[in-house]
């Protein structure tokens, strides 16, 4: 929806990512605020933002696969993990600077994703889900056994990000690295979706039979989608590795895969910005619930119900409950709710 009086006079103006002047101002303002964030926020809060960024990139990759192409993957965490190990391994084995390792790890993960995505050219729905589940377990097993690559069960120490002598080994500095990657990856996805191959992916999702008649090679685009999703997962994993400075196998289990799916669904299937919203939601939700639990601890309710130690279990349950409520009441995700809020303010005080 565009405000009255905002007429586009060229096709170029009609194909921008951010359609109105106000939204562009908000974008630059938001970026400026984020750039200033390390000056105002503590390390813990910055750590949360870094996590949101990393998870957001990975969720965006999964959204391209699940939301835009209509495939399913429950092995995304394995690709995320592969990216993390690949980046650490590239730096140790080939002495490539970390700044280069991150995109290279993305490319390596994309290659692995293409291999495991090959069944996607033929399988659909539940069958594909099981095939990606197999990918998850195969890769997890590989992580545990390939000592040379992952350090085995002991894990692997990674080097901090460094470019031109600037070391990003603290939250305050690594935040900028993640911010830059978030901007690159999200702009890339938004661009993809307004050009040929992005439209082809959505066409495959919406009606694959007529997509084929329109000249779209189904097998190619279904596999490509896996490749792109894995690239995003790989880059996010690499950032994760150089943020924690230590990677180990346990982190990349199927629970994380399902968390990624949760982010995509909560954020909004088929929405680029929704992926970031979903990641933010999933990262911040435990914090909010924890704060609630802390407020509860020692209070009247705590004493009356003798909750005591079970408050922490309450937290886990609350997270599950919120996700279920989301699926019931907001199945189209945060992205749609955000559109509705924007529309409300534009139309106020009239509802149509």
């Amino acid at each position: 929806m565009t405000p009255a009086g905002d007429f586009r006079t060229s096709y170029r103006a009609d194909t921008t990512i951010f359609p109105t002047r106000n939204s562009r101002i908000a974008l630059w303002l938001g970026l400026a605020l984020l750039c200033a964030a390390p000056l105002a926020l503590g390390r813990y809060e910055l750590g949360l933002l870094v996590n949101i960024g990393i998870m957001g990139i990975a969720a965006l990759g999964l959204n391209i696969l699940v939301g835009f192409t209509g495939q399913i993957s429950i092995g995304h965490a394995a690709f995320f993990g592969f990216g993390a190990f690949a980046s650490a391994w590239l730096h140790d084995a080939a002495h490539i600077p970390v700044a280069l390792c991150i995109p290279l790890a993305g490319v390596m993960t994309a290659a692995v994703g293409l291999v495991f995505g090959a069944p996607a050219a033929r399988l659909k729905g539940l069958y594909l889900a099981i095939a990606t589940l197999a990918a998850q377990f195969i890769l997890e097993d590989f992580f545990a056994r390939a000592q040379w690559f992952t350090g085995g069960v002991a894990g692997r120490i990674t080097e901090p990000f460094e470019i031109l002598g600037w070391r990003a080994d603290r939250e305050e500095s690594f935040f900028y690295v993640v911010l830059a990657w978030v901007v690159i990856m999200f702009v890339g996805a938004a661009n993809l979706m307004r050009t040929r191959d992005g439209r082809a992916l959505v066409a495959v999702r919406d009606h694959y039979l007529s997509a084929e008649i329109m000249g779209i090679n189904l097998a190619y685009y279904r596999t490509l989608s896996f490749g792109i999703a894995s690239f995003y997962a790989g880059v996010a994993g690499a950032l994760y590795a150089h943020y924690l400075l230590f990677v180990s196998v346990e982190a990349f289990n199927i629970l994380l895969s399902i968390q990624f799916l949760g982010m995509v669904i909560i954020g909004g299937l088929g929405s680029v910005s929704g992926s970031l919203m979903g990641a933010a939601f999933m990262v911040l939700l435990p914090e909010v619930v924890q704060a609630g639990a802390d407020a509860l601890a020692g209070g009247a309710i705590d004493r009356a119900l003798r909750l005591g130690a079970s408050i922490s279990f309450l937290r886990e349950m609350a997270i599950g409950a919120v996700i279920i409520l989301f699926l019931i009441f907001e199945p189209d995700g945060l992205a749609r709710r955000w559109r509705l809020i924007k529309a409300y303010w534009k139309l106020y005080p009239y509802s149509h």
Binding site: Y11, R12, D14, T15, G188, A189, N191, L192, R194, T195, R196, D197, G198, R199, A200, V202, A203, R205, D206, H207, L209, S210, A211, E212, I213, M214, G215, I216, N217, L218, L224, I228, G270
Partner: protein, 271 residues
């Protein structure tokens, strides 16, 4: 009949297990023609179109397009050769805007893939998009769907969706366009509009049209030649007048003793 036919089907048979959808059908379409396939329900009309567009592979026989054997070509490759089609039951990309739907039709004409597409401003993807957008807007103007270009296709009423589907097929720049019941479920006014679009496509845009249609009035009015299928067999082919006069057609298609219907149709055929 001097020109090489743009499309030729030679002895095409299609069987699904024991069901014979098509039996030994041969016909050709000349460049610049409006060619209609008619026949009762289940006669094999859509099966024939599916053999041409690649959804089905004929059990026997060959399909030639522009002199080239396309019998075993993947459907997605046929778009690049210049075959576009619309579907009997709408097959739009429901969650995309009308504009994006039509831009998907340009797929085989666009060169920028995912890598340069992601870079957009670098490498010329933007320039290409805008150039094609300009051409797509001409199609939008032609079919008079300017007012819905930003609407999500799945939310449009039936008549408009039919038009968007036609727009998407035209965007392919096809030499041959296959229209599967373009006027099904339309009211008289919409049918007249659609007939006008088809004629314009044929005469001004220079496209050869192969059409399946049940509305005999329209078929007889705008087709150059007509083929009649019944139970998967070709029972007649020729000019509308010729076909209407055919004894087999009267019996198989228009009902045996019902002279009134036949006369009605014959009347419609006369200009």
């Amino acid at each position: 009949m001097a020109a090489e036919p743009i499309l030729a089907a030679a002895h095409v048979s299609l069987r699904f297990g024991g069901v014979r959808a098509l039996t030994d059908v041969s016909f050709h379409v000349n460049p610049g023609e409006v060619f209609s396939i008619i026949g009762p329900n289940g006669a094999g009309k859509t099966s024939m179109v599916n053999c041409i567009s690649g959804r089905y592979r004929p059990t026997e026989g060959r399909v030639l397009f522009d002199g080239r054997d396309i019998t075993h070509l993947r459907p997605s490759r046929r778009a690049g050769l210049g075959i576009g089609r619309t579907f009997q039951n709408l097959a739009l990309f429901g969650h995309m805007t009308v504009l994006d739907n039509i831009m998907v039709g340009r797929h085989h004409l666009l060169r920028h893939g995912f890598a340069t597409g992601m870079l957009y401003w670098l490498g010329g993807a933007q320039r290409e998009e805008l150039a094609h957008r300009r051409e797509v807007e001409e199609i939008i103007d032609f079919l008079e769907i300017q007012h819905v270009r930003k609407a999500v296709a799945g939310t449009l009423p039936y008549g408009l969706r039919k038009r968007v589907e036609l727009a998407r097929a035209i965007a392919l720049k096809p030499k041959l366009i296959l229209l599967d019941e373009p006027m099904a479920g339309m009211n008289l006014e919409e049918k007249e509009d659609m007939a006008r679009y088809i004629l314009d496509l044929n005469e001004e845009w220079g496209m050869t049209v192969l059409m399946i249609e049940h509305d005999m009035g329209v078929v007889m009015d705008i087709s150059h030649r007509v083929m009649v299928l019944d139970f998967g067999r070709k029972i007649a082919e020729g000019t509308p007048e010729h076909v209407m006069a055919d004894e087999h057609v009267r019996r198989a298609y228009l009902g045996q003793a019902d002279e009134a219907v036949a006369e009605d149709a014959a009347e419609a055929a006369a200009p």
